[in-house]
Subunit: 344 residues, 4 copies
């Protein structure tokens, strides 16, 4: 089979290097160009020595990069970049997966409010497919433009999905108490992400409103066909990779929720429902595209507690992007993603 | 003033060494005896080199220790030890503070169910005072036997207290999503607490039921004079010291909750209500007896989110025990506890 | 090609689970049996949820395990176990790789002194091949019994090897200042390895003498054909995986040491000599079988400083064992080991 | 006694907040002014919530600050700031302690080479006293200007001092292999200090030459009255506070080095020589002004190994500065510094 010719825009952040790690061992991918304004000319493996012997490319200046010769371009850029360049790529027949948030929210006004800038191509939002395969697989197959989900939204939506589809819980009072490792903040020089600040420390942040809130709310509402009430509280925890979402939903109708989850995800390779009584650990998915979920009803009451873990850089970013790529290009969904988590 | 002659039973765990750290600089405390079966004869500072130059005592075998000559004995032992020895000490006129759980639960049947053993002295439970000064200060003054609260119960109860006293929230659907550092598991050789297991990892545990659940439920019920519905989910986070409790309560009546909390805790030295919009960090109380609290109503909705942090070994254990001691012995509550948190 | 039928004795420690992680994706390996006395009957993936969906085996009681039907048995056991069972396996035509220390030291008296027990089969020591492929590749090809090197010895020997072979340094005053992550202590319940003990902490240990000292000394002496003087100081550093060896050697003859190292390791796939001025990070090899090395002559003086990093569980244990297996069975040395390090 | 009126220039870094933590509980210090260009007007405790209830000051713009009204000014600034302002302060009768490097190196040419800028007041260097009390106590008493030592130089010099004074080792081949926690890099937004970069990672840095090298060499040379040969290799280790220096010196004359160290430091409150066979941990000095040292002769050979630990922010910076202040103002050296290390 002919290899997929791939371009990466913005390859110096954590989602960029993670794409590189995964694509380097993907049998059908050919990494063709990787751009960076700041690092143009530098060899990728000089910036990321973990890639020595694996990636021989150098970063290209975005102005010089021939992205239109690619079959697929990944944007691993800050928000607001992909929307500037996507139309030209689509017009040239290139498919696009945006790992940032530019195409995730269907309501442009909401997007502009939360992201604080005018959207450059509102019409393209309509054509973009939200790239959560467990929900949108059939649309992703034909997508030219995929909006790859955020990390929190992936963990939270996969945890609530079977419950909302089954209509078993009070949709007006959902709670998502989520905890993220520090790599979620990106490879940006910020005091709050320093080892001496974030290490041996735990805190909530953005309780008043986090940008992933409208994305999650949109997704949950689509699952049950009307708007939901969601309280979303993200926290920063001193680990590098991993998201743990603890979800609370009040049951309105009795059911065997363990059985519900197991049957809902029976055919999903990347969603693993643990046996009753389990507590998934973030390290059990470290480096892999897996989401592991456990469901509880403490003391047999009517509050359901769902525990959902992912690696924020894999199933929450680069791995899910490659899963989408596999679907878009007619490959088996697991190709290049059969990685055993690194434990310990 | 004559110094308080102090004995510590079981000084080789983290609450024990924390008592030593704090008592060593307490101007009215005289550390008289510290027992350990396993380490009898060894100098304390050989086990804990941080105490070299500070503590000169050696561990005494419990059989040899003259605890009855003390004014006050702290039990820093596993559950089930203090209840064996407390009556004899009380009869000898010694006051007792138990840092374990033997006297925390008023309903003996509930205690025996959760702790899996018969209680050795149910009658003493009635006389024991639950040592949360912000609730029971006036009873602690006269107490002979204080049941020092658990770490989670301290953080959770202080966070819910103003809301429940004011009767502003739905008491039937309270949620406490709590995160603890690994020192909460004690200085016990267990695989699950190894650095290579608990490091770079995050997980919930005991979702089906944690021993601190009945303790918290009892406390919350007393605040509002009838039983409450509480979902309590503890998590293990890779830091050494610190508890972060994220509390959710549905508001049933509108109110200025920031003002409520500020006025409720105005005179409490060890409870600090942060300005609106704040996110307390566990490190902001590291090594100190402080509890810091922030209150939120995300998007102005009716779900209240309270963030409450303590150092589990100080306000959650040894520091609160000394706060209780100060009250019992007529001292200013802050003596020996005016420690500036260690940051970074 | 027929798959290699593999048995693992003692699969519940970190080297065991690491063997499982790597062998699960090895195209020519068929994991046949894995033993554990303590966990017999339990599914492997119940103990290590990271292996759910990857490994379906259950642990077998050692008494029941049909190891003689294997082509190759790995011992991932504590020291002193492999030497009890190796002869019977060899007699049955099974090849053996011991990841513990039973066959590493050629001088039985030295082994017995450092390991504190009589050796069960001194005659087999002679036939065992020390499994450092970069030194002993041609002997490993024909080996029936391979003594897989220790983690410190691997990092230290690869760092000193070109210097000692070239005869450029004072062999009487070598220094190896080595730092290891906590997984090096194994998955054993010990207080000193607790997160709350080893976290946010750094210390040297076993300065008077560590068991890896005679193993390293033996290896270095063989490189230069006479005995060497080595000071070896191991340290414990709060990371999970990784060894960083900082090596000091006094130069006795001028040379271009960068060029020396580059040409020495030119054809070694798993030893990567970094450009001049580099500082290898342990995370740049995390999860991979790579050793990365940088060489320095600070201020142009005559003290050579070599920096050598490995993942102690991979090149320092399970990965090197599989590298040895590949050599023993005529496979390309890199098969199953082409893993991109996990960064961040 | 009248309180010492104190100014701090540059109080937003880690040495600044550490000065605040310690001075807040110093009975003879009155914190009068703290400057910051970037944070002028902000309350100190809004930047550092750990100081809520402890420090009520706001940051003052440096242009507005009346530093000349102080008795003592601490510079907790980047290198190159103190030298601009010190003369005016000294002329106004204010004493100065510089926690940066401006006055540490006596040879101006060497300073200018390593710090890459012309020195603003070479004549003041001569009058500055190097503030390592264990060496220069009698000069510090009368000093108007104290150059507070660097963190590495403190740990390394205290470890070599008894050996060099006794003339027992080969001064031409000293080695200092030092490991520092990440707070040593300061509270600066830099990618290399991010949690996701420095966490779960270990590396050497600046092997070609670190700025502390000339400072250490100068100090060691003064101890033995001629120039020494020193190889200094610093490493970054994933902990917040702490330096561990592992020192190597070849013995040229036999002696009881344990006895040598014990007697040398017998009267030093802040240097603690551990019993034979010990391994000091960085956490055993966390938050305190202590230096703990152990000495070894592995296998009874002629290589001496000294292990020396300090908290880089206390004995390596702010604590030592206050120790110097105490000496300069005729106070007991330990006042305000009797802190029990925080363990765990």
């Amino acid at each position: 089979m002919k290899k997929i010719k791939i371009g990466i825009v913005g390859g110096t952040g954590y989602t960029g290097v993670e794409l590189l790690r995964l694509l380097a061992r993907h049998p059908h991918a050919e990494l063709s160009v990787i751009t960076s304004r700041g690092e143009a000319g530098q060899r990728v493996c000089d910036l990321f020595p973990s890639l020595r012997g694996t990636i021989d490319l150098a970063f290209t200046d975005p102005e010089q990069a021939d992205l239109k010769a690619c079959d697929l371009v990944f944007f691993a850029t800050p928000n607001g970049i992909a929307m500037q360049q996507t139309r030209a790529l689509l017009d040239a027949g290139v498919r696009v997966i945006d790992l940032a948030a530019d195409f995730r929210i269907k309501d442009v006004a909401i997007w502009e409010k939360w992201y604080g800038m005018p959207h450059a191509c509102p019409d393209l939002i309509k054509t973009a497919v939200y790239g959560l395969p467990e929900i949108n697989r059939s649309e992703i197959v034909h997508a030219r433009l995929v909006a790859n989900p955020g990390c929190y939204p992936t963990a939270v939506q996969l945890g609530f999905l079977p419950l909302l589809r089954a209509g078993l819980v009070d949709e007006a009072s959902l709670i998502a108490d989520a905890k993220s490792g520090v790599s979620g903040a990106g490879r940006k020089a910020e005091v709050s992400s320093l080892f001496a600040e974030a290490g041996d420390n735990f805190k909530a942040y953005a309780v008043a409103g986090h940008r992933h809130l409208p994305e999650i709310s949109q997704g949950l509402s689509l699952m049950c066909n009307h708007s939901v009430g969601l309280t979303f509280v993200p926290h920063l925890t001193p680990l590098i990779r991993g998201i743990h979402a603890t979800l609370y939903a009040r049951m309105t109708e009795d059911a065997d929720i363990q059985q519900l989850f197991e049957s809902y995800y029976r055919n999903e390779h990347f969603v693993d429902v643990l046996p009753p009584g389990s507590h998934p650990e973030t390290r059990s998915v470290r480096g892999s595209n897996q989401c592991r979920i456990a469901v509880h009803r403490p003391q047999g009451g009517n509050m359901i507690v769902v525990l959902s873990v992912i690696d924020n850089l894999v199933k929450g970013a680069a791995g899910q992007a490659i899963q989408n790529m596999n679907i878009m290009f007619g490959l088996a969904e697991t190709i290049g993603l059969e990685i055993v988590p690194l434990l310990p």
